[in-house]
């Protein structure tokens, strides 16, 4: 049991605070820690706080729960900060990111993290997160700063450049898409096992398979796979089984579909992020994905978020009425997010492996050093150590290098508040490739989102 001070930044979001708490409540190592909820929206923060206090009561007051709208207060003496903020209205602005560049002729298929739309998302988020990261470093230079906010790679690159000594990691759950299927890919007989045995086999495979990955967030590839018990290289098996497993009936227009498999067929490496994310960064997406599918995807995300909020509201009303359900809001299933696992791994010096976003340095040799890459990280008390990849296969490296070039310029434009660089960045994006279009996109987006964007000059 280690008593830490953990700050949840953006905790007023029903989609962030409660699920993160869910994982913490399952941790015995963190018992007794102080969890400080921080949000700038006091009304939302208060509601989440009340729910969390109630949940904590159900769990025998495992944690000390605090709340504040004052960042300096929250970060004081903190050991860990977990940041998941969204500057502006997550979906309202996301729809603009998705629609406006497209309406001017951009070939980007979905705009969250890449493409011209991803530029504006970055421009809204980065200045706010940099302020937070600077405060975190000021408060405690040894603090672990965990970022969940998107666009992950660009935000992390900005943090790396502006607060270079901050100990940070960016986390994303995208690998779960593959993990869901991996046991059945690696063991063709797993499906025919009895249900108990099937669960056992499933868990056994997941617990003992080490997956080496490389790339950028939402743009990464499986590079290696090893059975940790036997040391056996599982890549031949994985490659042999992959297309056998993913018969067309298993293709899913949001995730593993035509774009992912075209990449796999042409380039020989499997991207585990799903069509919707891969599509953000590459021109080829327009051939293999449908814009309308991603309309549906964003709508589905929005509905999911609304459902979380409605459920939260119901619980909140019952709390107010004094009829809070005995079992509480949180379940006993882990959320799939890895922040708590990483914190535990560091505290307990576990040498576990997690997929992380960290500064490249020399993890991937044929990508720029000054870049934040997604890779396999070894977690122990010394911190997070990226597993060296050496050189990525050249085809993938080329595609990543193109996106890295855009990110380099994107972050620079935002940090310098330079309109010229912003337009250059949008124009250079392979899904734009045109100055006039870039300028039109910029002008319209700036007029719509001015309040949330840097003062581009």
């Amino acid at each position: 049991m280690v008593e830490k001070k953990i700050v949840l930044i953006g905790a007023g979001s029903a989609a962030f605070g409660p699920p993160t708490l869910n994982d913490m409540f399952q941790s015995n190592i963190l018992q007794g820690s102080t969890i400080t909820l921080l949000d700038i929206n006091e009304a939302k923060l208060n509601r989440v706080y009340q729910i969390v206090v109630q949940e904590n009561k159900i769990k025998d007051n495992k944690f000390i729960i605090e709340k504040t709208t004052d960042r300096i207060v929250a970060l004081k003496d903190a050991d860990i900060a977990i940041c998941s903020i969204e500057h502006g209205d997550r979906f309202f602005h996301r729809w603009q990111d998705h629609r406006i560049p497209h309406s001017h002729g951009s070939t980007e298929m979905m705009a969250e993290n890449g493409g011209p739309g991803g530029f504006f998302h970055s421009a809204r988020q980065i200045p706010e997160i940099i302020k937070i990261a600077k405060d975190a470093y000021e408060a405690n230079p040894h603090m672990l700063f965990i970022n969940y906010s998107n666009p992950m790679s660009r935000i992390c690159l900005a943090i790396h450049r502006m607060v270079p000594d901050l100990h940070f990691v960016g986390l994303c759950h995208q690998i779960n898409l593959l993990l869901r299927d991996l046991p059945f890919i690696l063991d063709e007989n797993a499906h025919s096992l009895g249900s108990l045995e099937k669960i056992k086999r499933y868990k056994d495979i997941l617990d003992n398979t080490k997956i080496t990955v490389g790339g950028l967030n939402h743009f990464a590839f499986v590079l290696g796979m090893e059975d940790m018990k036997t040391g056996q290289n599982l890549m031949p098996k994985f490659n042999q089984r992959l297309m056998e497993f993913y018969t067309k009936d298993k293709w899913d227009r949001f995730h593993f579909d035509a774009l992912t498999f075209e990449f796999y067929k042409r380039l020989g490496w499997f991207s585990y992020v799903g069509d919707n994310h891969l599509a953000e960064y590459v021109q080829m997406a327009r051939v293999h994905t449908k814009y309308e599918d991603f309309d549906d995807w964003i709508a589905q995300m929005e509905q999911g978020n609304n459902a979380i909020n409605r459920r939260f509201e119901r619980y909140y009303k019952r709390l107010k009425k004094g009829t809070y359900p005995r079992k509480g809001l949180l379940g006993n299933q882990a959320s799939g997010e890895r922040a708590v696992a990483i914190i535990e791994g560091m505290i307990e010096d576990k040498n576990t492996f997690e997929i992380v976003n960290i500064p490249n340095q020399d993890i991937i040799e044929n990508l720029p050093r000054d870049l934040v890459v997604e890779c396999l990280g070894k977690i122990n008390k010394e911190g997070i150590h990226g597993k060296k990849v050496g050189n990525m296969p050249k085809t993938i490296a080329a595609l990543l290098q193109i996106e890295a070039s855009i990110q380099d310029l994107c972050v620079e434009a935002i940090l310098r508040e330079s309109k010229d660089l912003a337009i250059a960045c949008i124009a250079m994006d392979v899904n734009c490739g045109n100055f006039k279009m870039a300028e039109d996109i910029f002008d319209e987006m700036y007029s719509l989102q001015k309040k949330y964007l840097p003062k581009f000059k």
Partner: protein
């Protein structure tokens, strides 16, 4: 004077051979050397050889020992310098295919010589024979200094660097000539209006030369994709970039030329703040933005213009040869009285004389010259030339907007060269697909297959 052995590879070319003869004959340092003309086309080689020995004998008092051979091993034996300018097949017929076929399949490329899918096909054809040549250099004369003139320059040089890593080489291009021509005029009003300044043509020429010799340009980028990064007045040490930037737009707009500096150059300069010195036609090859600011017909006209230029030179050489055969050789010889703007001979001289010559634009392996471009890349930068060879001058980081554009092209080059070296059809198609002027595996495959049908003799090595 040491007897150096200088080999011209592709010497049967009427554009390359005579221009090199011209520069060699202007060199005093190289007098007494052996010049070996090498080509695989025996007939053309014989013609150029006869012309070269005639010039050498009649005009230049046997300044050189001139040999010719179609046998590469023989040519390379004991060679000190090798200047290579080969082209594969019928250059303009193939170039037109490089341009047209990808466009037919939906590529937005504008020229197809050194970049875009056309540039890739050009690379696919020409790089394998060039690699055979440099492997022979490694085997037969490993200490020789190798100069490449063949396009696509950056890709050819990258393939050379990767295949024969110890080779001492440089890639040369005369594109910097635009800057040599314009910068003195831009900086000195007297050169803009010689009548007003009361200058005779000779005086004008002298002043231009003087002015040029007093400026030092700093450039950086890739071949045909380089930018002016710095400008210094040598006598005073004054930074002339402010003056350049103040005068450049009015100056170049007045001299707008669709084959030189035009709308695309101006737009990139205006948007990015650094002047691309290679001309619209070349700059536009590497970027998606090219299509926005160039006209299709202009680019077709450029290919035809280049073709006609080559043919005119060819016709002139043929006429001279016919006169020679009739015993009526030109009294003053066939070569121009001024050296060309090509830098091969000055570089060889600087190596021999250890003269620390400042060369404004050479193509050499990056290795720490430009920090924010891949290290395993051949860049166009200034260099100092002395007996150690050609040493690039460190640039540090390029401005991020330019670096981003260059890195996109560098990524395509990386895969293109890998495809050639590994003879991989999959990689070849991938390299075409990754090019932002294609951006589709389907288009890439369709153009590859059609080009394979049209140029099987050059492309069927891909497996």
């Amino acid at each position: 004077m040491k007897n150096h052995r200088i080999v011209l590879v592709g010497a049967g070319s009427t554009s390359f051979g005579p221009s090199m003869f011209c520069d060699l004959f202007h060199s005093n340092i190289l007098g007494g050397s052996t010049v070996v003309l090498h080509d695989i086309d025996r007939e053309k080689l014989e013609m150029l050889y006869e012309l070269a020995i005639t010039e050498n004998e009649r005009i230049h008092n046997n300044k050189f020992i001139i040999e010719r051979t179609t046998n590469r091993s023989e040519a390379f034996k004991n060679a000190d310098f090798i200047i290579s300018s080969i082209e594969v097949g019928d250059r303009f017929k193939l170039w037109m295919q490089d341009y047209e076929i990808p466009r037919k399949h939906g590529s937005t490329q504008i020229l197809g010589e050194c970049g875009g899918p056309g540039g890739s096909f050009h690379g696919f054809r020409i790089i394998p024979p060039i690699l055979d040549i440099v492997k022979d250099v490694e085997k037969i004369c490993p200490d020789a200094f190798f100069i490449n003139f063949s396009n696509p320059m950056s890709r050819v040089c990258l393939a050379i660097k990767r295949t024969v890593s110890k080779l001492r080489f440089v890639g040369l291009c005369h594109q910097i000539g635009f800057m040599n021509k314009h910068i003195p005029i831009l900086l000195d009003d007297r050169l803009q209006n010689k009548e007003k300044a009361g200058l005779t043509l000779t005086e004008w020429g002298k002043l231009h030369k003087k002015k040029l010799s007093d400026v030092k340009m700093k450039v950086g980028g890739l071949n045909h994709f380089g930018f002016l990064l710095g400008l210094e007045e040598l006598t005073t040490g004054k930074d002339l970039m402010l003056e350049f930037n103040a005068k450049a737009m009015p100056y170049f707009e007045k001299r707008k030329d669709r084959f030189e500096f035009s709308t695309l150059t101006f737009e990139i300069y205006k948007r990015f703040g650094f002047f691309p010195y290679t001309g619209d036609n070349h700059l536009g090859e590497y970027i998606q933005i090219g299509q926005e600011f160039t006209k299709t017909q202009d680019m077709i006209d450029w290919i035809n213009h280049a073709d006609q230029g080559g043919k005119a030179i060819y016709d002139k050489v043929i006429r001279t040869y016919k006169r020679f055969k009739k015993g009526k050789y030109l009294k003053k010889g066939m070569l121009p009285r001024q050296p060309t703007e090509e830098q091969a001979v000055p570089i060889i001289e600087a190596i021999i004389n250890d003269s620390n010559l400042y060369e404004t634009a050479v193509n050499i392996p990056n290795k720490g010259i430009i920090n924010n471009l891949p290290q395993d890349l051949v860049v166009e930068v200034p260099a100092i030339v002395n007996k150690e060879g050609v040493k690039g001058i460190k640039i540090g980081n390029l401005p991020k907007n330019i670096a981003a554009l260059l890195r996109i092209e560098a990524s395509v080059q990386d895969v293109c060269v890998e495809a050639i070296i590994t003879k991989s059809k999959e990689l070849a198609i991938a390299s075409l697909a990754i090019d932002p002027n294609v951006g589709s595996f389907q288009k890439a495959e369709a153009m590859f297959n059609e080009m394979l049908d049209l140029q099987p003799e050059y492309l069927s090595y891909f497996k």
